[in-house]
């Protein structure tokens, strides 16, 4: 999973997508939750970003366990 490298010939969106694929190998439900929350939260406020990500990750695990 440590093989992710930023490629100069790719745009940020393409590199970010590659990063996302690497994260999915690490933990797919959490990777999806993190990427979705970050793309949906355009706030510059670190607290708001944190809340969105934490909620999405916790929700992903709850759903995965059928809670």
């Amino acid at each position: 999973v440590t093989s992710f490298k930023i490629k100069d010939d790719l745009s940020f969106e393409e590199n970010w997508a590659a990063f996302g694929e690497q994260l999915k190998e690490l933990d797919e439900p959490l990777a999806k939750a993190l990427l979705t929350a970050l793309s949906a939260c355009d706030s510059a406020d670190a607290g708001a970003v944190r809340d969105a990500v934490y909620a999405a990750c916790a929700d992903a695990l709850r759903q995965g366990e059928g809670k």
């Binding site: 999973v1 440590t2 992710f4 490298k5 930023i6 100069d8 940020f12 590199n15 970010w16 990063f19 690497q22 994260l23 690490l26 933990d27 959490l30 990777a31 993190l34 970050l38 670190a46 607290g47 970003v49 944190r50 809340d51 990500v53 934490y54 990750c57 916790a58 695990l61 366990e65």
Partner: protein
Amino acid sequence: VSKWCLTRIEIEGFRGINNEGDPFVLDLSCDKVNSISAPNAVGKSSIYEAVCLALRGGVPRLDELHSSEKAAAYYVNRFYNGQQATVRLSLEDLTSGAESTVTVRRGRDGATTVSSVDHADPQALMRSLDREFVLLDYNTLHAFMRDSPLARGRSFSKLLGLAEYSNARSRLRAVSNTQAFNNHFGLNTLTQRIIAAKKGVSEARVAAYKAVAGLCDVKAEDLISDADADRVVLDFIKNIPTLQCIGQATDLASVNFSQCFSAISEAEGGEERKKYVELTQQIAEAEKISVGTLTGVLLRNLVSLAEEYELSLTGTAGVLRQQLLEQSRAVLESDTWVNPQVCPTCEQTAPFPVLDLVTERLAQYAAADAAAAKLKLEWSLVDWTPVQQLEAKVKTADEAPLFAQAVSQMAVRCASAATLSALEPWLETLQARHQAALESCKSNAEALAEKLPSSLVGVTKSVAEAKAIHEKLKDAAVGERKAAELEGERKDAERIKSFLDKATEIFSVAEGAASKARMEAVLPLVQQLFCSIMTDQVVPRLQKDSVGEDLKLVLDRFWTETDVDALPVLSESYKNALAISIFMAAAKLYSGPPRFLLLDDITSSFDGGSQFFPMQVIREYVARPKIPDGLQLIILSHDPLLEKYFIRAAEEGDWQHRRVQGSPKTLLMVADDTGNALRSKLIKMLDAGLTDNVDAGVRQYLECKLLYIIQRVRINVPLDFAMNDNKKMVQNATDTIKQQVALYKQIGTLVLTGPQEAAVSTTIASIIGNFMAHYATGSSGAIGEAGLRATIKAVDDLEDCFKYVDASGQKRFFKALDKKS
């Protein structure tokens, strides 16, 4: 990838540019260096701010002002009658040849619109052009050098086209912050709750096994599980002949204990038996009631924590002040706050960094929060249900339920030390009353037991014991499920944290490596630019490790020394040159869509004669057209000496120089060499009856025309001509013209006719008398329309003094004062 250059800037009603109905138009060349000169307070910076508005949606130097300055009201020109300022940028894509024009309007109410007739998404286009190097002024460069290594490193990443990566890294780092994560998921409390739940399970099980051992003649340590204990007790009571009603029950849960007591009662009969059974049940119920782990010591500890909390509160002053301090800290830690010793709330200057004081104040709040958290944590470790049950059972109707009240208070905030202090004596009272009632029940039960057959008393006791054991085992099972549930929550949180840490690490390593690689790519150009501007005896180096974000500036060579920290030894002009070198090198290699740079007086720290060097180096190594894939430079300057360089460069074909003139009250325009365009505008304004502020335009016309005459007739000027007081340029020019005409007359080579020579003196006298004498003293209001028209005519007449009529009837300038053609 598109590579956009600016081809035209049009401005109306914005900042220092009024131009109502006649927008200021600045045409720019993509294949030349563009320089624009203007005296101070004419509107040069408004051009810079106009592009800033278009690209960034605002002007930071306005938006950062204190709200009481009402900066938003100063976007639209104060003398403009329209309701909105207009900025229009025309751009050309060097890759495709496509052209786009984007219009940005900002109303007096602050509403901003972006539109284009030939681009589908003009806002996205403007965003794509908003790179850190596109709008450069001295303050930006100065801030870059003065920033902390971390802030500089982040700015540098953005310069290298890694802004989105740097922002993403910051966001990831924020979500993996351990303290924030623990606070959000309540990990510390969760851990304590798990410990408490497990302890409760252990205590219930030990008590149950001990009771089984007492009832069934087995050793507690031989019981291998709760099911085993359950089975032992069930077998025991099944073997009691009176309790046939138990039948085929498979565990204690399926035993009907009420039925068992009824069976005993029926077997023995009589009210006394019933009474005895009731008493034994009451005793069993009463013995179940306990205060758990609650002790006087624990209550005193809680009182002590409440007192600590109340003491810590004395150092604070409410939530509003805390919010104010947090906002202040955010401002002070931001890149935009320039002076760390100025308070962002009161704007007073302190003799120390204000952040230190704000941090200290916030620490008092943090201490109060910590004290509250400690109290709440200790409180949460106690199971308050038993003592509340005891309280409900024992207290009289007119007594307050102190424990219930304390629990309610702690659910919303911290209870006071006084409230908690009352609990210990109240607990002692409750326990004493409960014990007395229990003793009374036991005494009555013993008295009855003496009258009843002993064997059935034992059976009744056994059933009551079995029921109590069943309850304890049930408590242990419930506690175990709760502990498992909490463990699951903790494992989930640990899985999330581990994932976020890993994700942040992976991205940080990648971003750091990309940033370092790009840094190494720009370094040779940075060194080349810097050494060319200053000296090759001082060689800078950019230092950044592959994971961290800090950017350090060091010197590989500092005259005879090596490996020296740059910032402590470099002078302001050297720092300025280094910043210019870094920004230019990064822009050249990693500019992306914008291929233009708007530079507003970036060489302010250089002395007059040295500003030439950075300009020349940028021109040679960075700018189009000498560097075919270089950048379109648009240089704004108010410096008259630098303008001399611009004028000379413009004669070499790769440079376009413009001078702008005008005033914020009326109009700004690009001057032509002859001044004729300005003259037409001035006459038009006078014809329209507009005399207000025309005097400033006439002064500029005078200056422009006199310099034009000096240039055309090649009149020699003193060596310090350009360095003399800029405000006295008209006086300097007329003095020079008069002296040179007199000199050539004296040596007998003057080509001016006698009337022309005489008219030089009279027209200059008219200019001085009608205009400069009033203007120079600030009483230009006294000039009036007639005086202004007379001054313009005097200038025209003065120009004619240096012309002759050729064979075709055209007026032509003499070649020199001593040469007709």
